[in-house]
Symmetry: C2
Subunit: 210 residues, 2 copies
DNA sequence: TTTACCAAAATTGGCGCCAATTTATGAGTC
DNA sequence: GACTCATAAATTGGCGCCAATTTTGGTAAA
């Protein structure tokens, strides 16, 4: 964490620092356990001290980093128990809306899902870890949006982040990633066939394997 | 919001301002739509400007207040759609762990639930709105804790707050509150009988009526 | 050689000031 | 009398400084 490189500041500029730090945690650039020194972040992201502090506080609220008073903030270590529990929650929720998804799916929305699934597959070969992560997220958001429950989409997006601190350990092998890509298409096929039970089974398996 | 009363500052002192504002929103002291002027909060809770700002930012993250740049923060108006969606989520989750709750319940934990249910009943008559809210929360937390999923407990506690901005409109009549109290006991009874299906039905009804 | 203690450097975090933007007020005009 | 524009008041929000605490490095003693 002492690589005081100059300015990777994204061109967008007025964007929030929180997102940049979040991305670096999710992609593993900032490894679990790392102490996030304010002065380093300040320089690394080219922003001011109060901005860094606000970002750290937000990430602490989201339980992505831990705050130790007078000691600072550090990235959470991967927590096996929590990962397991979040998986359980996701299974309950995502299988719980399987019927709604199947009945709400139009030809158009299935088409859109296919595009996103293809994008994911493409990113396996051509994209960065971040692009892959975001392609996956986009697919699952679109899928859940079919439930008609916007709060659910946001909620799952949120709790997904809580355990993805170690995406490396989750997506260890390329074989698993490719398997995920195939499962996306299988889920689309189940929706096309109006087979909610099959969608549930696939969803459960998909979440359990990561 | 121009009642610049002196200092209701709680005796505890080093506690977080965020919780005080949160309580006042949940109990309706700070009504939906109210603009939260920093200088007022500063005086009302006897704290500094940065503390107020941090609290407002946290509440905005939790979607309890809305931030309008250069205009300030105001308490969210009750959102029918969101309330409905959060209700759906709660039903899926809480009925989804009904089996686990029933099978994990020991004689001791049932006893503990009974005490909390009685406390709630007591608060209907003797307590303030905040005490009632907290007694209700305590019962449901204890109930969900039996699922063995700590993340789930925290998650539901969190999303509960997102729509309880208008607890007054939710718990309009005393009749409904008393009905809630009775349902708590019915749920305990279902657990004691090992009847997960009955617990699901009660849970669903309990959430739908508020 | 190891341990305890002290001093110096570094880091966190509280606090207040001031610029930028918005809202309210009042005067002038149609 | 109502509308518009300009000026003044109020509010938000960015930024930097300094005190408090912790950590590190060095020195002296056992």
């Amino acid at each position: 964490m002492n690589d005081s490189q100059e300015k990777p500041v994204a061109a967008g500029e007025e964007s929030d620092v929180t997102d940049f730090i979040l991305q670096d945690i999710l992609t593993g650039v900032l490894a679990p356990g790392t102490w996030l020194k304010q002065i380093d972040l300040e320089r690394r992201y080219g922003c001011t001290r109060p901005e860094v502090r606000r970002a750290l506080d937000r990430l602490a609220q989201k339980r992505l980093v831990e705050h130790v008073p007078n000691r600072g903030y550090h990235v959470y270590e991967p927590d096996g128990r929590r990962a397991k529990e979040v998986g359980e929650i996701r299974i309950i929720l995502e299988t719980g809306v399987a019927e709604a998804i199947v009945s709400n799916a139009s030809a158009e929305s299935i088409k859109k899902l296919s595009v996103l699934a293809d994008t994911f597959d493409h990113m396996i070969l051509m994209g960065t870890m971040l692009e892959l992560y975001e392609a996956n997220l986009a697919f699952h958001r679109e899928l859940l949006a079919l439930s008609g429950n916007q709060e659910l989409v946001d909620l799952i997006t949120e709790i997904r982040q809580r355990t993805s601190s170690a995406p490396v350990s989750q997506w260890r092998t390329r074989a698993r990633i490719e398997q995920s890509g195939r499962e996306h298409h299988l889920m689309i096929e189940a929706i096309r066939n109006g087979d909610a039970e099959e969608l549930k089974i696939l969803t459960k398996r998909h979440i359990l394997q990561g």
